[in-house]
């Protein structure tokens, strides 16, 4: 085995291999940085060249691409609050908050360094693990997978902290939105209201962008400043970010380990690992107060996990032909195009190629992170630019990203609707991550539960793996509570009861009109969902009914809490935000009439002239750039846009 390792290593450092890997890395960085493109666009750029290439060289190129996408998309997550891909959604929470506090360079540099370390650790683990991984992957049956989705859902409790019921309600709504579409067990359609678009469920990209990015943009527009609220010197933050990672060595190692392990589990991987490690960072931290407001650990944890996860995801892809993530699925296509069939053959006859894959992954991680580190400082200065100038470009990027989901105008409408929910949530302080976790995990939870019961019956829940994960969930849910009780008792025994009790009562309930709007809206939604799913069979309906139950119960608890405890009425503003949402829908209307490219160009021009009030020649130049970008992307990637009346005449 050692000689195979060494021969793949020498293979790795040939000129052709390095050259093509660098091409892969560069393509990966470009598509990673542009939000919404991600692995799929990158692969479709490279796939045409693949057929007929030398396999080891071609694999190097593909791995170069796969490895750096979770690195490159950090730029969008941190600087613009746009979740680059499903694996970097947790990064947005603290990364963007740090950017707003003027610490974008710090967040970026520590994100890239932890990405690099995570990727390297993942590759090391993978080289040893891949040979013996088969039994482990096979030991995760549907019931263990179901428990792991529950573990992901339990992160909601960790993330919502004191606003537990609101968090659970948000998660319940997420679950309900997540089950839109076909019931896996029976083929029945749920909550699609006869709309073709909803038959497939809402695309993750659209929901992620809507819930996180749109509300942030609206808020920044209202503030009329730059992204960074305070003036800052960038250079200092850059070095500090590197230092942060050095101080959090343990966290990086733990999250990389979690990442590579969860990555090996087929069918779960990317979507939960960032929230799981984020939750872990919150729980293991002594001072939790800064999470969500800009704690560097909230960036380090998911970033060191997602690159390791990309390594781990190679295990089921190579050994079983079952991809663990979206990018891995496309990588699998590349393998097939090269004439390589995944399976035990990857260990028995193609072990050299397998090691080429793993080490290309490691090398590309280092290369990609190094390039990003170099870019971090100049790119971070974007946060000092007046936001109204950036806004139209970001808006176009977001709509471009959302439209790539299914290339239907309905993608944009869904973006607007989810965005409106996001704004309400943000204004009233309801947990948006909880909503997203529910949305992401709903299909997995339903599917694996159904499969576990069908395959294993009741014995599904007495398996050792299930009990272990179950114990872990209980620990996560009750540890904080036990800890509090223990601390209080210790305080009581010392006779200095004062501090803790004042802490408990110092937190007063607050209620505002947006809270009421959300609660009433959610109850209405639950009612509509109940009517829609009334006639379903038990197997098809159990999950939506469960989601409705969770939602309603959490809302009732929240209302009871407000009735039983003194409530302070707080003023919550929403009018101006609504004005922007209406504007967004008007923009969608323009796109329907005029076509995407023309509307985007005109929108940028008018916005820059009337709202940002920049000089006409700058506005014209920037609008031309927007048009050039869209048309260019369309040509290179063979994308098509929504075509209105005028677009075909102007841009064909």
């Amino acid at each position: 085995m050692i000689d195979v390792m060494l021969s793949s290593l020498s293979q790795l450092f040939t000129v052709s291999h390095l050259l093509f890997m660098t091409i892969g890395v560069l393509v990966g960085l470009v598509v990673g940085i542009i939000p919404g493109l991600g692995g799929i666009a990158g692969m479709s750029l490279l796939l045409p060249f693949l057929y007929g290439m030398e396999p080891s060289v071609a694999l190097g190129m593909l791995m170069g691409l796969v490895a750096v996408i979770p690195t490159g998309d950090t730029f969008a997550s941190v600087l613009l609050g746009i979740p680059g891909s499903s694996a970097s959604q947790a990064t947005v929470v603290d990364g963007f908050s740090l950017a707003k506090r003027g610490q974008a360079a710090r967040a970026l540099s520590s994100a890239f360094l932890s990405s690099m370390l995570g990727g390297l650790l993942g590759a090391v683990v993978l080289s040893a693990f891949i040979v013996i991984a088969r039994p482990l992957v096979l030991s995760f049956s549907s019931s263990e997978l179901f428990m792991l989705t529950l573990l992901g859902l339990s992160m909601v409790a960790v993330l919502s902290g004191k606003e537990l019921f609101k968090g659970i309600a948000a998660c319940g709504l997420g679950l309900l939105v997540g089950i839109i579409g076909m019931a896996p067990a029976t083929g029945e359609f749920r909550l699609n209201f006869g709309l073709d678009y909803l038959y497939d469920g809402l695309p993750l990209v659209v929901v992620g962008l809507g819930i996180f990015a749109l509300p942030e943009i609206v808020e920044l527009l209202l503030k009329r400043g730059a992204i960074s609220e305070r003036p800052c010197r960038l250079g200092e933050g850059w070095a500090r970010g590197l230092k942060d990672v050095r101080e959090q060595k343990g966290l990086v190692a733990r999250c990389a380990a979690i990442g590579s392990l969860v990555g090996t589990i087929p069918g779960l991987a990317g979507s939960v690992v960032d929230w799981m490690t984020y939750g872990h960072a919150v729980q293991s931290a002594r001072d939790k107060s800064q999470f969500g407001k800009g704690d560097i650990r909230g960036v380090i944890a998911p970033e060191s996990a997602n690159n390791a996860c990309a390594c781990g995801a190679m295990v089921p892809t190579l050994l079983f032909g079952v991809p663990g993530s979206g990018t891995a699925a496309i990588f699998l296509g590349g393998l097939l195009l090269l004439g390589l069939q995944p399976g035990v053959g990857m260990i028995e006859t193609h072990l050299d190629l397998t090691y080429t894959i793993i080490w290309s992954l490691a090398l590309a991680n280092v290369l990609g992170a190094a390039l990003c580190l170099l870019l971090a400082r100049p790119v971070a200065s974007l946060t000092r630019v007046r936001f109204t100038i950036l806004a139209p470009i970001i808006m176009v990027l977001i709509m471009f990203a959302a439209y790539q989901a299914t290339r239907s105008i309905a993608d944009l409408v869904a973006l607007g609707v989810i965005g409106a929910v996001g704004i309400l949530f943000k204004q009233a302080g309801w947990s948006r991550p909880a909503f997203l976790i529910g949305f992401v995990l709903a299909p997995g939870a339903e599917n694996y539960f159904y499969q576990a019961v069908q395959f294993q019956g009741m014995s599904a829940f007495s398996r050792p793996g299930v009990l272990i994960v179950g114990a872990l969930i209980v620990a996560i849910l009750f540890m904080p509570m036990l800890k509090k009780v223990w601390l209080r008792r210790r305080a009581v025994s010392r006779g200095s009861d004062g501090e803790t009790s004042s802490n408990a009562s110092g937190f007063a309930n607050s209620l505002g009109r947006i809270d009421l709007v959300i609660i009433i809206g959610m109850l209405l939604m639950a009612g509509v969902a109940l009517v829609d799913t009334w006639g379903l069979s038990l197997t098809g309906g159990i999950m939506p009914w469960l989601a409705i139950g969770i939602l309603v119960l959490a809302l009732l608890c929240e209302m009871a809490r407000n009735l039983l405890h003194p409530v302070t009425w707080v003023k919550q503003t929403i009018t101006v935000q609504l004005f922007w949402i209406v504007g967004f829908f008007l923009l969608i209307g323009a796109i329907m009439a005029l076509g995407f490219v023309l509307s985007a160009t005109l929108f940028s021009l008018l916005f820059l002239l009337l709202v940002a009030r920049v000089k006409p020649w700058i506005a014209t130049g920037m609008a031309m750039c927007v048009a050039g970008f869209l048309v260019g992307m369309g040509h290179i990637l063979a994308l098509s846009y929504h075509v209105g009346v005028l677009d075909p005449l102007l841009f064909q």
Binding site: A185, P266, F320, V322, L336, G339, Q341, F455, S537
Partner: protein, 372 residues
């Protein structure tokens, strides 16, 4: 468009073109030439694939694209346009509305495009009668079982005829439909567990020991199940066989030693052939999902001369030794079918009588608790 030209020819000029291609990316973004060759063959062919990048049908199309490009007069560029969604219904719907009738728009479909059309899925807005086939590639498949059910195929058959077995499937109307029908005809009580995202996940459930029997199409069987069989961890039961040009189901050339489903049926039923609606449904879905598993189609009202040119080019490269060699890894030991023969099979299989459809809906409801 510069890039697709390079794309389609890259197979033969290999990696060197990639560097050039990357540098022309920037240029092609700005310049958009409209140079149309004066011949009948369009300079650019846009090939809609209603599946995502990297999926089975996408890889299949990317394998064929350079062959078409190199065999057609004037070497047109073949650009693949992935329009995923709704398990291919979305892309096929869009193609049926927007495709040009000049013959420069193709669509690549698969069993999961054919089946909803046959079953009358309300989401389907396309009609196979509007399209005409250029080429089709067949596949076969094998049903295999856990060794805990018996030591030989005969023992396993005897045991699964008496007690219910679990099979991991994608959806009630997915590619497993003919397999479910075949097992039902044999008298096997199948508990299908739906919700797998691919046949690969189904195989994983089998390898974990959760599923008692499983089914894989030829290429996946050869790479992933054959090693299990060699290790004694799986026992092959029967192949689905293949449909010959006369319309008879014969042994699969990939598995000459395995009996076909019909042979097994005959041996269990005094050499009788199956009859009735169940068998009609089986034959139709087997033909459209396996004999014609993947199809290259153009709108029917494209110029007939162009359609003939396409078919001629396909015949030419399919007959070449280079293709036979390269296609082994991608298509298995099956030769693509071209032109009229495809049309004949297609006409036969896609036309499902209302009575058969009703029988099928009822069968799915009672046997698998699924509504279509």
């Amino acid at each position: 468009m510069h890039i697709p030209a390079v794309i389609a020819q890259s197979k033969f000029s290999r990696g060197a073109t990639l560097a050039i291609a990357m540098s022309t990316v920037a240029i092609s973004a700005i310049v958009s030439p409209q140079a149309q060759a004066s011949t009948d063959v369009p300079a650019q062919i846009k090939w809609t694939i209603p599946f995502g990048v990297g999926g089975g049908t996408d890889v299949w199309a990317r394998f064929f694209a350079p062959w078409f490009s190199n065999s057609l007069p004037d070497n047109p560029t073949v650009v693949i346009d992935n329009v995923p969604g709704g398990g291919s219904i979305n892309g096929a719907n869009i193609f049926s509305i927007r495709a040009s009738h000049k013959g420069d728009n193709w669509i690549g479909t698969s069993a999961s495009t054919q089946y909803p059309a046959m079953l009358g899925d309300p989401r389907v807005r396309y009609d196979y009668a509007d399209w005409t086939p250029i080429l089709a590639t067949p596949t076969g498949g094998v049903v295999y079982a856990q060794p805990r059910l018996g030591e030989s195929a005969d023992e396993v058959m005897a045991s699964i005829l008496t007690s219910p077995v679990k099979l991991a499937a994608q959806s009630p109307t997915g590619v497993e439909l003919p397999v479910l029908l075949a097992l039902d005809l044999l008298g096997v009580d199948v508990d299908a567990v739906f919700g797998m995202r691919s046949r690969g996940e189904g195989r994983l459930a089998f390898e974990r020991g959760e599923a008692d029997i499983d089914f894989q199409t030829t290429s996946a069987y050869l790479s992933s199940v054959q090693p299990l069989v060699d290790d004694g961890k799986a026992i092959p039961l029967f192949s689905l066989g293949i449909l010959d040009d006369q319309g008879d189901i014969v042994r699969d050339p990939a598995f000459p030693e395995l009996p076909t489903f019909l042979e097994v049926y005959a041996s269990l039923n005094d050499n009788q052939m199956p009859t009735g609606e169940a068998y009609t449904a089986y034959r139709k879905f087997f033909a459209s999902g396996y004999t014609l598993q993947k199809l290259v189609m153009v709108p029917k009202d494209a110029p007939q001369k162009l359609i003939d040119t396409y078919r001629e080019a396909a015949r030419e490269f399919v007959a070449s030794d280079a293709f036979k060699q390269e296609s082994q890894a991608q298509l298995g030991p099956y030769e693509p079918v071209i032109g009229e023969v495809v049309q004949r099979h297609l006409d036969e299989s896609m036309d499902l009588k209302d009575s058969t459809r009703e029988w099928l809906a009822n069968w799915l409801k009672t046997e698998h608790d699924a509504s279509i």
